[in-house]
Point group: C2
Chain length 306, copies 2
Amino acid sequence: MSSAIALVEVGPRDGFQPIGPHIATDVKIAFVEGLYRAGLRRMEVTAFVNERAVPQLSDAAEVLRAAQLLPGLAAQVLVPNKRFCHRALEAGASHIAFVLSASEKHNQNNVRRSPAESVEEYGRLVADLPGGTRVRLNLATSFDCPFDGPVPEADVLKLLDALIPLRPGVEVALCDTTGRVTPDRVRSLFERSIRRYGNGTGWAFHGHDTYGLGVANVLAAYDAGVRVFDSSFAGLGGCPFAPGATGNVATEDVVWTFNNMGLETGVDLGSLLEVSMRGAEIPGAFSGGRVRNALEGQRCVQALEG
Amino acid sequence: MSSAIALVEVGPRDGFQPIGPHIATDVKIAFVEGLYRAGLRRMEVTAFVNERAVPQLSDAAEVLRAAQLLPGLAAQVLVPNKRFCHRALEAGASHIAFVLSASEKHNQNNVRRSPAESVEEYGRLVADLPGGTRVRLNLATSFDCPFDGPVPEADVLKLLDALIPLRPGVEVALCDTTGRVTPDRVRSLFERSIRRYGNGTGWAFHGHDTYGLGVANVLAAYDAGVRVFDSSFAGLGGCPFAPGATGNVATEDVVWTFNNMGLETGVDLGSLLEVSMRGAEIPGAFSGGRVRNALEGQRCVQALEG
């Protein structure tokens, strides 16, 4: 199994999406470029979605165009259905991330479809993609649903049975949408999935740090054989209606941890931290992660501390 | 191996110690009582140390006296040497936690002794303890030193070889003082220690969440067979000179995680959260942890979130 770790920076999509005040398009592009300069070579740069539902990403086409000027950057865009996939393709997208949820209620809430209907939509979507288009499946609520709680592994495996044959070889991201899953369950589902479908299909883990388990769950997925991880610079992705509910696991926390384990991510932590410091200051943003602040406080030693 | 988990609440010592503004003694006692009511039955309630170095804990005798009125509470107190151990015993302490550091520089900085000299001091200390006194060894910088970086496993094992025979059967806490150790190294050192000395001696893990690995490291120690964990309510223990550098792993984060793994800690999360909310509001305190805020934000669901 390859030990090469690939981080997919999702801040420009998952991180910016919930921020209320509009981020100027050139500012978004500057962040994408800064993250690229830090060494990130995979990014979910935006989403093609209902602009009324997610006004922050209404400049998807411009951000994508700028990202595609960066040599060697795999710039994926999120789409919820075939209609928005066509918009993405018209805008020049060559790497599509299709999102559906494992849980009925979350999928209905997100895309007004049952998971089974989203599987059919995915089938129609991949049926007439231009040759050479890269596809990724983002399976939200693969572990836990904000409405229904824990999602049975059998439900996820049943969905994968229906999804994977529709386009063999796509990368599948199992997503902990709520941040409530514990590492034992992350390891278990990935081990079962990899046993069932092999590790030829790329597997990815997308986790949130809402309950402080962001890095713990990344490491559990790593133990199970996963080598692709979504993360968000400055831990962006928190919910504006719940300041305490931090968002995606912070890219700098993941890079710092793998570095300290002697594992290479291709990312320069120092350059990333500069971008993350600025990211945490975006008006209306709720940042997360620990490493940013901890490295500021390194000088601190407490007498008699255990 | 027992699966029963015991949490040692260290907030009243490790958490209060770095707080500048003096916390009134009756307020400290109210926190100890609140934590006891939440179900915590082991606590490091204070330290007997140089009052000029740690003025916050100058009321150690009164806090200890109040804690010992709580039925079934194992109230341990930290001591750095034999002289302060006698003060603790005079104050009625029956459960002593002796602290030394595995790294030369940190031990010199803390107690003005080499680790070897602290081993001798520990030998003198345990030589004439009253019968029935419980002893715990807190081995600071067992993984990483703020001055020297990573601590070799061999150095720790060499110290344990010298320490454990001086009073067989004491509980040994291996402490990640800086919060910089990664779970792979936590698992490795505990596995080697337990192989070498058996698990009859109680082993404990004391971790910090400074870099976001607090719970990840607790779970790594759990995987290695450890069942005793230090934690601090509200994640208290941050350094006043580095607001970002959060302190001990938060008790509520550890309880929440073990609960979600179906493991019993004996602590009522709801009651604990009420105490932790108040703890986070202590003037001058730097709190940490995620679960406190996350549970406030549970209602939040993001459209199209992966």
